[in-house]
Amino acid sequence: MNSVVRLILGVVFSAIFLASGSVSAGAPTTLKMAAILTVGGEEPWDGTFLAAWENARKNNPHGLEINEPEFTAGLWGDEAEAAARVYAKKGYDIVWLHSSYSDQVKKIQNKFPETLFVVSGSGNEGLGKNQYWMYHRDHEGAYLQGIVAGMTTKSNILGIVGTFPADDVWDLINGFFLGAQSVNSNIKKKVTFIESWWDPPKARESSNAQIAAGADNILMVATAFEACREHGIKCHGAYTNWIPTAPDVINSSFMISWIPHVDWVIDEWYQAKTNATPFAGNTEKRWFLMKDGAIDVAISDNLPDDVKAKVAEAKSKILSGELVIPIITSPVESD
């Protein structure tokens, strides 16, 4: 009898062991990512993405061992497609194309169904399947900056020097002015685009033009702060914390993070691989908010206490959900 019981127990435990073994065999333990960046790590859009990648490496989500950042930069059109194709052929699990690259993904996604492609920002098409579309909405951060600008302006004229008039730039422009108007009803708006992603000399001259038009607080989405220092007015930074660069000039800076995006994509990839199901990429833009850790704002220590308190209050309300900043992407004309 004992030998029969031992036999049964042996069979049961063996079955359990094999079953557990088969599960662990299906769950991946490593993840290889590659990226195609627009400019490189020196610019905040790309740099914050690389920081999110490093964060994932450090945290090992699902116990995954993730490779060091491996990327190319400055490729567009056919060259970007070729690079993505090479990454996919070399067996990278996730190929993250960090800008408007859905046209390129469209041509190759069916050839590499095991590869998860990611595109980010405006100018993309929601292809679904193995393409995921990540987006950044920065209106909440810009709203808090608007509060700073609205409370500290003397001329009541606020400016924004932007890059391109894109959907994900208009949202933060509207957010900035909404924030300013929430504390100052006399605000006049000035909006300029330099029509380039990175051209500091042009951005500088554009801010000079706004200063001539009376602006004394400028949100420099195009990131050039020289004119603000030269004319003794205040600037506000975008995408990363620019305050240490010029603490006497920059009163606030909104900071983006791709950590929630990267973590979410890794989760999606892991679930699909573990369950052996096909990828189900989102066809609509997917973004995260301040409460998710996707956006934050830094303000200068030099600001008056009442301004700091107002920003802290608004931020607390945004985080709790009591204050919802609307996403407005309609164009704003200069007053």
């Binding site: 905040p44 920081a51 029509e195 500091p200 000079n208 038009a213 200069s334």
Partner: protein
């Protein structure tokens, strides 16, 4: 609309015109000298970019803006030495050589920027900007003082380079020889003068001026460097030489017209005039095309421009 025609805005537009025009003038005057010597240097953009990077990098490393500007000039001159060697000594196709140098500069500056200056995320290397140097007394002149005499010294150098270049070309023996090189290098050769030496010097001068223009873009305008920072201004300088019909005074005019249109569209946006600014953004290039068409009939392009000189041919 009335807000646009205020004293403040008009002065701001004209002062911006001078600042925006300065690097264009520097690069275009350098290119003029090279082209007058018969060598068309399409590598101006690359040489400017090299000057832009080296100006920033050396200033960042040493803390000396002067050292940065010097490095920008030397670096761009070294690039122009390659151009001269390939175009004059090896007599290679000048267009292809210039384009290759642009690609070389683009790759090298990006590589050096990434490898020498670690910049990930918010850690951005910065430099102190070349300070304004208002000229005593002249900067106090109403209107003109702010528009012309209240900038950094690179702007004054750009403006001065035009009459100096004009004097050199039209009033000196060496200027005459240089002009002759572009028209008929054989005449110089038959006089027993070295064609190659003069062309080398002209191309090197062009490179030095492109480097200076590049330094203006970085240390003269911005506290930081970004890849491809020259953003096509070198190409615009080449167009300006053609639009200026290879004459210094018209090159100055052409550069200021381009710069004015750029400054104008920025202020149209800032003031908030209900006008599609995208049209204004395209306007400098439309004007360039019109200028080229206009100059076609009365072109003073050097007759031997782009043709490698060979004694035997």
């Amino acid at each position: 609309m009335s807000e646009f025609f205020t004293e403040t805005i008009v002065i701001s537009i004209l002062a911006a015109m001078v600042r925006i025009g300065a690097p264009l003038i520097l690069a275009a005057i350098g290119e003029l000298i090279a082209e007058r010597a018969g060598v068309i240097n399409l590598g101006v953009e690359g040489m400017m970019l090299m000057g832009c990077f080296l100006g920033f990098f050396v200033t960042f490393e040493t803390g000396s803006i002067l050292a940065g500007i010097g490095a920008a000039m030397v670096g761009a001159m070294l690039m122009s030495l390659i151009m001269a060697f390939m175009a004059i000594t090896l007599r290679l196709e000048q267009f292809v050589t210039g384009l290759a140098l642009n690609l070389l500069a683009s790759g090298l500056t990006l590589f050096w920027f990434r490898s020498l200056l670690k910049t990930i995320g918010s850690t951005q290397p910065n430099i102190d900007l070349l300070e304004k140097a208002p000229i005593p007394f002249l900067s106090d002149i109403p209107y003109l003082g702010i528009i012309v005499f209240s900038h950094n010294w690179l702007v004054y150098l750009a403006i001065l380079s035009v009459p100096i270049c004009s004097f050199f070309l039209y009033k000196t023996k060496y200027g005459l020889e240089l002009r002759c090189l572009g028209e008929n290098p054989r005449a110089i050769d038959m006089k027993g003068l070295s064609v190659a030496k003069r062309q080398y010097l002209a191309v090197l001068f062009g490179g030095m001026m492109a480097g200076l223009a590049g330094a203006f873009i970085s240390v003269g305008s911005s506290i930081r460097f970004v890849p491809e920072m020259t953003a096509g201004r070198g190409w615009l300088a080449i167009v300006i030489v053609i639009a200026g019909n290879w004459q210094p005074k018209w090159i100055l005019v052409a550069a200021l017209v381009f710069a004015f249109l750029e400054a104008f569209q920025m202020h149209v946006q800032a003031v908030g005039i209900n006008f599609p600014y995208q049209i204004l953004l395209a306007l400098p290039y439309v004007v360039a095309v019109i200028a080229l068409m206009h100059r076609r009939a009365r072109s003073r392009a050097p007759a031997s421009l782009g043709v490698a000189y060979s004694r035997g041919s």
